[in-house]
């Protein structure tokens, strides 16, 4: 019953976000702040992780496939590119962001709730869900796809460098593979995943933080729940998107 109650409350929170802003300029300012926090604040970790994910993908596929001579060497470019676009970049970035951004959002809103800052906004006449949740969702929807595109680029570079350094394939073969048989539809699927994951990370985390009751301990618990719940929902959504669109 509690699970159903929470689901209902989650959708009510989302629906109450869609109201006319009290002051468009203030909402835009908050959205820009969120874009900066979510985007710029996550560039470094996404860059490091995606480069190494690309590298590991290239090395492991090379080790397993090239050694037994099943495929030509230049295919590695295709394999790394497509696995990054379709799966690795969106899913791993989303899970990373669920940890970094999700916990940040839940603890920010949780401490605002506990210190009565949300009540203060409410008393002023501000629609608190629209002002506190809306800009986070819009900011994430705007910036997370860019982060994922960046992750694909860096992953491809990482894969190329690791493969060449390890002597698995030549750079020329790898580039040939990257240029071969490019499917635009894969990029569309990646962007759909990016938007869905961005929405999940922000709304699930906002929900956990917004309705915190208690003190510091509960803020910590809400932060943990935000990461765990968004990660689970991301994995399920990832499967559903792949199942329906591929």
């Amino acid at each position: 019953m509690s699970f159903l109650h929470d689901i209902g409350k989650y959708f009510l929170m989302i629906s109450s976000m869609f109201t006319r802003p009290e002051n468009v300029r203030m909402y835009l300012k908050e959205t820009m702040r969120q874009i900066y926090q979510i985007g710029i604040g996550s560039v470094l970790i996404i860059a490091i992780v995606s480069t190494f994910v690309g590298a590991v993908t290239a090395v492991q596929f090379s080790y397993q496939l090239l050694d037994i001579g099943l495929i030509p060497m230049w295919w590695m470019g295709i394999i790394v590119r497509d696995s990054l676009i379709l799966e690795m970049a969106p899913t791993i970035c989303a899970l990373l962001l669920a940890g970094k951004v999700g916990s940040n959002i839940a603890s920010e809103l949780g401490s605002m709730r506990v210190t009565e800052q949300i009540d203060a906004l409410e008393i002023m006449g501000v629609n608190t869900t629209a002002y506190l949740v809306g800009p986070k969702v819009v900011g994430a929807l705007f910036i997370i796809p860019f982060l994922i595109i960046m992750a694909v680029g860096l992953g491809i570079v990482g894969g190329g460098v690791a493969g060449a350094m390890g002597g698995f394939f030549s750079t020329a073969d790898y580039i040939r593979g990257l240029q071969d048989g490019h499917e635009v539809y894969y990029v569309v699927v990646m962007l759909i995943k990016s938007y869905v994951f961005a929405f999940i990370i922000t709304t699930v985390s906002c929900f956990q933080g917004f309705y915190v009751k208690g003190g510091a301990l509960e803020i910590g618990n809400a932060s943990t729940r935000a990461v765990v719940n968004s990660s689970i929902v991301i994995i399920i959504a990832n499967f559903l998107i792949a199942f329906l669109l591929l």
Binding site: E22, N23, M26, T115, E116, Q117, D119, A120, E122, I123, M124, G125, V126
Partner: protein, 254 residues
């Protein structure tokens, strides 16, 4: 004027407010007193609409807050100011930005006009040269002043203060009380204060409402509080310390 008519509020199986009726007049400091758990905070939060009572009405100059639509409630809330127990200042904003926030959100003023208004409110609460400091960089008393400045920046008709003296030293507490009293009279605001500080009651309590176990147990003026002896709970609440009991005995002797 705020009229409260028989409000009841329940949380799961616990009835916190069991039918409270009273009135709060303009230009007066109306104090709600009572021991911890008496229902003071729930009562105040019900007054401002953060909690919705299951029964009863709360009328702001004849307008029932619990029967208002979203738009009407928003416009009523623009007439309210509230000072929270923990100040509820926005950590990421400076003192000036905190006070300016309601103006940024709801007014059509230019930045110069807003800054002028903010500076006026900050000077009104005797807080100068702190505009660019963050809440974490100022003292508890200064935070209360910022909270008051933010509460009055929109020229409210109704001011609510939840434990305005909590965590303050006696001298600063008196200054904050005086400030609230002055502002109430100056702008003819209906002020409702939640407190269990007897200094506040004796200093600024134009009207005192005593809550006990979710019921209004007594109401009257600050002068009447001291004379009341028949109400056992009120007597025990007010003269909880031996020092006050002795003081009262000495006063009665004289």
């Amino acid at each position: 004027m705020i009229e409260v008519k028989n409000i009841k509020k329940r949380f799961v199986d616990q009835e916190v407010l069991k039918g409270i009726s009273t009135e709060f007049s303009n230009g007066k400091c109306n104090l709600i007193i009572g021991s911890s758990g008496a229902g003071k905070t729930v009562f105040l939060k019900s007054l401002v609409g953060l909690f919705t009572p299951e029964e009863g009405d709360i009328l702001y100059d004849g307008r029932a807050i619990n029967k208002m639509g979203v738009k009407e409630k928003k416009s009523l809330r623009n007439e309210m100011g509230m000072l929270f127990q923990g100040n509820a200042l926005f950590d990421s904003l400076t003192v000036e930005e905190n006070v300016r926030f309601p103006l940024d959100m709801f007014s059509e003023m230019s930045l110069e006009e807003k800054t002028e208004r903010v500076n006026f409110c900050l000077s009104r609460v005797n807080l100068l040269n702190a505009n660019h400091k963050y809440p974490g960089e100022i003292s508890g008393g200064m935070m209360k002043r910022v909270g008051i400045a933010r509460a009055i920046v929109m020229n409210p008709k109704y001011l609510f203060c939840d434990e305005p003296n909590s965590g303050l030293d006696p001298k600063t507490a008196l200054i904050i009380d005086e400030l609230i009293k002055e502002i109430t009279i100056e702008y003819n605001i209906t002020t409702v204060i939640n407190t269990h500080d007897m200094n506040s009651v004796m200093g600024i309590g134009d009207k005192v409402v005593f809550l006990h176990q979710g019921l209004k147990h007594w109401e009257g003026t600050k002068e009447e509080v001291l004379e009341e002896t028949e109400n056992k709970e009120l007597y025990e609440f007010i003269f909880a310390s031996d020092f006050l009991k002795k003081l009262r005995a000495a006063a009665l002797k004289q």
